[in-house]
């Protein structure tokens, strides 16, 4: 299997190409089959690879599949090669499997859309690019996948391109992540120049050999890579694009902006962990950014009115958790949380899609209500997924992964009491906004009639993800609850394990209890404010809520700080000298033609005069020459 790894990304690539070229000629059935089956086969291949990998662990815990040498420049020879280690295994299986479920769901969701095969082409291309990113052996190939997912994100956000608002959202996403991508590229240049290689394992090895801990180069490289990760994963300060990216179709939001693309940054940092270990200030910055985003997004989420925007901010917040984990050195905890998050966030988005379709594309939660009888599937999906998000103790997967992060926020070598508290606060807020969402949408008086029932093609993925959201956490439970650290052990064969340092006042058990407490507080508060017996609720208007609603006014800030000066400069430079030369030429031509046009006045005598005068002049010339 190790030499057949390339099938996993190749299948979606091929299907994307076919759909792109011939998609308009296929019927919906064929396009749906092609699009979904390719991902399904890819998932199958991934599972087979996983089974084989687990059964016969290769030496060094890594498979390498050299495909071809991409560039050949002396001692700098990045290849197109695939690299399979436990962390990759987890990512690939999650991406393909969840991706498959989402594709299945979109067969029903997009059935009325005229861009059906185009949609599947883009989605397949996205999965292919994401798999390339994850399976890449070296940073250059990873960057290729990175750019690919950025492109597909742009294409899919602006999928309904006829509405200019969607296009603006897509542009915004692309531009903001571009800022991060540029930092990433510069980081790549730096690494390539100093370490003469971009192979990830080599980079880490050489960096640890050549650069002392805390050296300027290490800090610079790590900081630049962090810049790229921040952009792609929508963390501070490049997070403004994610809420607007909800303009795309809901399956897109589910796949790209919840489960996979936005986690690319997490993956990047986890893969190049040695670099970050070499640059403690940067690692601290990672944790800080993670914690900051987590809180900022959580506050924003509690003030949102649009269903998908709540989920978007929630995603931002959860990725903040992952970044926090990375910053603390809890690499495997971050990956674990990624896995559970993929399950329940995709579930939430897909269920949101069901709700939105039923509400005739109305997305304001305050206009929904009482849907739990009309849409039972969606209701239970939301309940299960939301509880996983909020961290309902013991039953849901989210509890275990979040608990792991919280514990290591306290106990790890980089741990800090403040981060622990921040994590708990975040958990409380998460619980609050989740149950707020559920209460507003599914309880209370029914404000909008609905007659839509999702078909089996949409229900199967929902149920599958529900199950996974519940049982997914059981592969890594803390010692007090069963002690099954399967995932951590698995991942720690390639990721540095976290040594628990600060024990003391707060044990793992008390962390778990505190997490449960935050869950309960959030839930209780939400119930108190948004309870069904309060009747129809209107959104509140007060300045603090407005601030949170606008995402802490960062859009406004960026507009003033960057966008307007830039536009000013562009406008000022629009009519410069060189431009003037060209318009001058045009204007002169226009004037000349106007002048010449005067001679065409259609008057006989004028023409006769012309003839006579011309003759006279020519004759004079002839005479004078002689």
């Amino acid at each position: 299997m190790s030499s057949l790894l390339w099938i996993i990304p190749a299948l979606p690539f091929a299907s994307a190409a076919v759909l792109a070229l011939f998609g308009s000629r296929f019927s919906r059935r064929v396009a749906a089959w092609l699009g979904t089956a390719s991902i399904g086969l890819s998932a199958l291949a991934a599972i087979l690879a996983a089974i084989e990998f687990l059964a016969a662990r290769p030496p060094g815990s890594a498979w390498v599949d050299h495909l071809w040498t991409w560039i050949s420049l002396g001692d700098f020879q990045p290849e197109a090669a695939l690299y399979f280690v436990p962390i990759t295994l987890v990512m690939v299986v999650v991406i393909t499997f969840v991706g498959f479920l989402i594709h299945l769901y979109s067969v029903e969701y997009m059935r009325d859309d005229e861009g059906f095969s185009r949609f599947f082409a883009y989605m397949n291309l996205f999965v292919a690019a994401m798999l390339t990113l994850v399976l890449a052996n070296n940073l250059l190939l990873l960057y290729l996948g990175w750019e690919g997912v950025g492109l597909c994100s742009f294409l899919l956000i602006g999928f309904w391109y006829r509405d200019p608002a969607n296009v603006r959202a897509a542009n915004k996403a692309f531009l903001v992540t571009r800022v991060g991508d540029t930092a990433f590229a510069i980081g790549l240049f730096l690494l390539a120049t100093h370490l003469r290689t971009l192979d990830i394992q080599e980079v880490m090895r050489r960096a640890t050999q050549q650069w002392p801990v805390g050296s300027g180069l290490a800090i610079a490289a790590a900081a630049l890579l962090l810049g790229g990760a921040v952009g792609k994963s929508a963390q501070l300060p490049l997070q403004t694009w994610l809420p607007d990216a909800m303009a795309g179709p809901t399956p897109t939001s589910a796949l790209i902006h919840a489960a996979t693309m936005v986690t690319a940054g997490v993956y990047l940092i986890a893969r190049t962990n040695a670099l970050f270990v070499l640059a403690p200030p940067v690692q601290f910055a990672v944790a800080l950014i993670g914690a900051g985003t987590m809180l900022l997004a959580a506050f924003s989420a509690i003030a949102q009115r649009d269903l998908k925007r709540v989920l978007a901010y929630s995603t931002m917040s959860q990725i903040g958790y992952m970044f926090l984990a990375l910053g603390l050195g809890a690499w495997s905890a971050a990956i674990f949380h990624f896995m559970t998050h993929a399950f329940f966030k995709a579930l939430l988005f897909l269920a949101a899609g069901v709700v939105i379709q039923a509400m005739h594309h109305e997305q304001d939660m305050f206009r929904m209500g009482g849907l739990r009888f009309d849409l039972p599937v969606a209701f239970w999906s939301f309940l299960i997924g939301g509880s996983a998000l909020a961290g309902l103790p013991l039953i849901t997967a989210g509890f275990f992964s979040k608990d792991l992060i919280l514990w290591q926020a306290w106990a790890g070598p980089n741990g800090n009491g403040l981060f622990w508290v921040a994590g708990l606060l975040g958990a409380t807020l998460t619980s609050f906004y989740t149950y707020r969402m559920i209460l507003l949408v599914f309880y209370g008086p029914e404000k909008l009639e609905t007659s839509y029932k999702p078909g089996p093609v949409a229900v199967i993925p929902l149920i599958t993800l529900c199950v996974l959201s519940i049982i997914g956490g059981y592969i890594d439970t803390p010692p007090d609850f069963g002690g099954v650290p399967v995932l951590s052990n698995f991942l720690n064969t390639v990721l540095p394990p976290l040594n628990e340092v600060h024990l003391g006042a707060i044990t793992e058990l008390s962390t778990a209890i505190s997490a449960s407490a935050s869950f309960a507080i959030g839930f209780g508060f939400a119930y108190f404010v948004y309870a069904p017996w309060r009747g129809a609720l209107k959104p509140r208007e007060d300045p603090l809520l407005r601030l949170w609603y606008s995402g802490w006014a960062m859009d406004w800030l960026y507009d003033r700080l960057f966008v307007r000066p830039f536009q000013f400069v562009v406008r000022a430079g629009a009519s410069d000298l060189i431009d003037e030369i060209y318009t001058g030429i045009a204007r002169i031509t226009d004037l000349a033609s106007g002048a010449f046009r005067q001679t065409q006045n259609g008057r006989l005598r004028w023409y006769a005069t012309g003839v006579a005068a011309g003759f006279v002049v020519l004759f004079a010339v002839v005479l004078l020459v002689r």
């Binding site: 065409q600 008057r603 006989l604």
Partner: protein, 93 residues
């Protein structure tokens, strides 16, 4: 010869000046006549009959041209009941 030149120039003046189409045609006739005179004078100067033969042809041509020209004039007069050549300036711009 000078006579021919003078007459030709006069015909030209008339052509350029007059707006009424009849006078235009008339001036053209004057010019034709003048050029014919030039031919004949030349034939006289060099003692060959060719110039006079030329004049014959010019005469024939003038006859044909006059008839066609007057026919056109008639049509013009029917379309726009005027003989002003300035009116026929639609092909401008």
């Amino acid at each position: 010869m000078y006579l021919a030149v003078a007459l030709f120039a006069l015909g030209l003046i008339g052509l350029l000046t007059r707006r009424n189409l009849i006078f235009t045609l008339m001036s053209v006739e004057v010019m034709l006549n003048a050029s014919g005179l030039a031919f004949v004078a030349g034939s006289y100067q060099w003692g060959r009959p060719d110039g006079q033969v030329m004049f014959l042809f010019i005469l024939a041509m003038a006859a044909a041209e006059v008839s066609v020209g007057l026919a056109l004039l008639l049509q013009f007069h029917r379309r726009a009941p005027t003989l002003d050549s300035e009116v026929a300036s639609e092909m401008k711009g």
